[in-house]
């Protein structure tokens, strides 16, 4: 039971990050490695703010904007300084490593007995008795759903239409008299905002910050996006954002099962990489088939 709950908790926290990767990878066609730095950025900010007694809700808002700023810088490096997309992300990811260390002050920070999203007066009043074990999963579900619906809403606005257009066909954005560079920067800002928000929640749920938390964020997020979009492609009533959330939970479940079966946790990243490669290859195959049929 605890295992299932923790799969759902972590799966949905990572789902918010995966939604960000869905924007950069699927919509913008931009392999954004900034996320490996912006995820722990959220965790670091969260740890420091919580330690200093900042309202947990406020940490979410602050994290989103900090991440959006990081994404904007990546976008500026790519668009204005004309650095290749992958390299822009790598530069930013490397820079963020130091930024995160500076924010947290050290490589790890525990968060015990603090007022967090999951441990506060309000939560202990509402979730009593039999409901108590479900407090975390319900809180995370609510936040994840809010973010999903906000993203769905944004994608249906004029600005969101342009974001989809720029990944689909850059030329059309220029034809509409809009600077395609700005549209890309907005996309990267929103995406990294979501990733940092996810890191912020993750630190509060895990009750610690660690500088290496972000390693592999990109791969986990991509795996979730690809699992979600390719497995649930046939289920047409689901929005893609919903599929991504489900994909993230499925991914976490796979990892949890692997550990349960006795896989040593230090092998996790290797398994993650191999699993991702397999998913990627299968996903590519499907894409080709679709193109041939079209």
């Amino acid at each position: 039971m605890t295992l299932v709950l923790s799969v759902f908790e972590q799966g949905m926290i990572y789902a918010i990050m995966a939604l960000g990767i869905y924007i950069t990878y699927t919509i913008l066609d931009f392999p954004d490695l900034t996320v490996d730095g912006s995820f722990p950025l959220g965790a670091a900010l969260s740890a420091v703010m919580i330690t200093n007694g900042v309202n947990p809700i406020l940490t979410l808002v602050a994290s989103f904007f900090a991440g959006a700023l990081a994404g904007t810088v990546t976008g500026l490096i790519h668009v204005k300084l004309k650095v290749r997309d992958l390299l822009s992300g790598i530069i930013m990811m490397t820079a963020l490593y130091t930024v995160n260390l500076r924010i947290a002050g050290r490589a790890n920070l525990p968060l015990y007995n603090m007022t967090t999203l999951f441990e506060n007066g309000f939560v202990s009043k509402i979730f009593t008795g039999a409901l108590a074990p479900f407090a975390n999963v319900i809180i995370i579900l609510v936040i994840t759903l809010i973010m999903k619906f906000l993203l769905d809403w944004y994608m249906s606005t004029k600005s969101g239409y342009l974001l989809r257009a720029v990944g689909d066909n850059e030329t059309i954005v220029t034809s509409m008299g809009v600077d395609k560079g700005i549209v890309k920067i907005i996309g990267l800002a929103v995406a990294n905002g979501l990733v940092t928000l996810s890191g912020c929640i993750f630190a509060q749920q895990q009750r610690y910050f660690d500088i290496s938390m972000g390693t592999g964020t990109m791969v986990i997020g991509l795996a979730s996006v690809i699992i979600g979009t390719s497995l649930l492609k046939k289920v047409s009533f689901l929005r893609i954002t919903t599929s991504v959330v489900i994909g993230s939970i499925i991914y976490k479940a796979c990892v949890a099962i692997a550990i349960k079966l006795g896989m040593p946790s230090q092998d996790l990243k290797l398994i993650t990489a191999v699993l991702f490669l397999v998913i990627l290859v299968i996903g590519m195959d499907r894409k080709k088939k679709v193109k041939k049929n079209a």
Binding site: K158, S159, G160, Y161, L162, M176
Partner: protein, 257 residues
């Protein structure tokens, strides 16, 4: 009025592959004029359009619109008064988005892309009306992804999207070249109708000499960065395909085509 003054443009300057395309090229297009541009490959037709649209920079010279110098203006700003249709049908539309979403994006051109609803439901009737004027049956497929349409349907949609807003210039870059003869005919007829209706200044590059003769009120033949034929008004109206075919063959032989 669009004026190109003393345009100089070379590719790969400073290398042994340097190609001087335009050397002090001049062109003036009056408001409302429909210019057809023909010429062999590499004669500078598409470069001419790219220079007007700001897609490629020029080395020297000036581009003026109604007397205002726009030489330094960025491409996306210039496109605010330009509608453009490309040879490749996929360039003028978004394949992953539906017909309705594509039209909605085009409809918003010049009105800002903020956080309002992407598709204005009240405009759907108008879109359907526009589409039914194309006679392709697209008005019943508003929720179909554009990627699923044929090249001709996509190009028609692209033409519609490029012209549904008030624009000053319509730039057509061999926009019928990738289509089968029948579809090309339909798209061309539609183009003629739209240009007449909107009275928009149009520059059309084409490889089809018949279209160049039949449509438009001015004809340019480009060769090695120069306009070797430039006929307008009654002179243009009197022209026949045979008249320009001779010149076209001469320059083509020269180029080894």
């Amino acid at each position: 009025m669009l004026e190109l003054k003393n345009i100089t443009k070379s590719y790969n300057p400073g290398t042994i592959n340097e190609i001087c395309l335009f050397d002090k090229f001049n062109l003036t297009v009056e408001d409302g004029q429909f210019v057809s541009v023909v010429g062999s490959n590499g004669s500078g037709k598409t470069s001419l359009l790219n220079i007007i649209c700001g897609t490629i920079p020029i080395d020297q010279g000036e581009i003026l619109v109604n007397g205002t110098n726009i030489t330094k203006q960025k491409d996306f700003i210039r496109h605010r008064r330009i509608g453009r249709v490309f040879q490749d049908p996929s360039k003028g539309t978004c394949p992953e988005m539906t017909i309705l979403e594509n039209l909605a994006i085009a409809d918003n051109k010049g009105k800002g892309y903020g956080l309002g609803r992407g598709t204005n439901k009240a405009r759907i009737g108008y879109y359907k009306e526009l589409l039914s004027g194309m006679n392709l049956g697209l008005e019943d497929k508003l929720h179909t992804k554009v990627g699923a349409l044929s090249g001709g349907q996509r190009q028609t949609l692209a033409l519609l999207m490029a012209t549904m807003n008030p624009i000053e210039f319509l730039i057509l870059d061999e926009h019928t070249a990738a289509l089968d003869p029948k579809t090309a005919e339909i798209v061309m007829e539609l183009t003629g109708r739209i240009v007449k209706q909107k009275h928009v200044t149009t520059i059309m590059v084409t490889h089809n000499l018949r279209y160049a003769v039949e449509y438009g009120d001015r004809l340019l033949m480009m060769h090695q960065g120069k306009a070797i034929i430039d006929k307008a008004g009654s002179e243009k109206q009197a022209m026949k395909v045979e008249d320009i075919l001779g010149t076209f063959n001469e320059i083509s032989i020269e180029c080894g085509n």
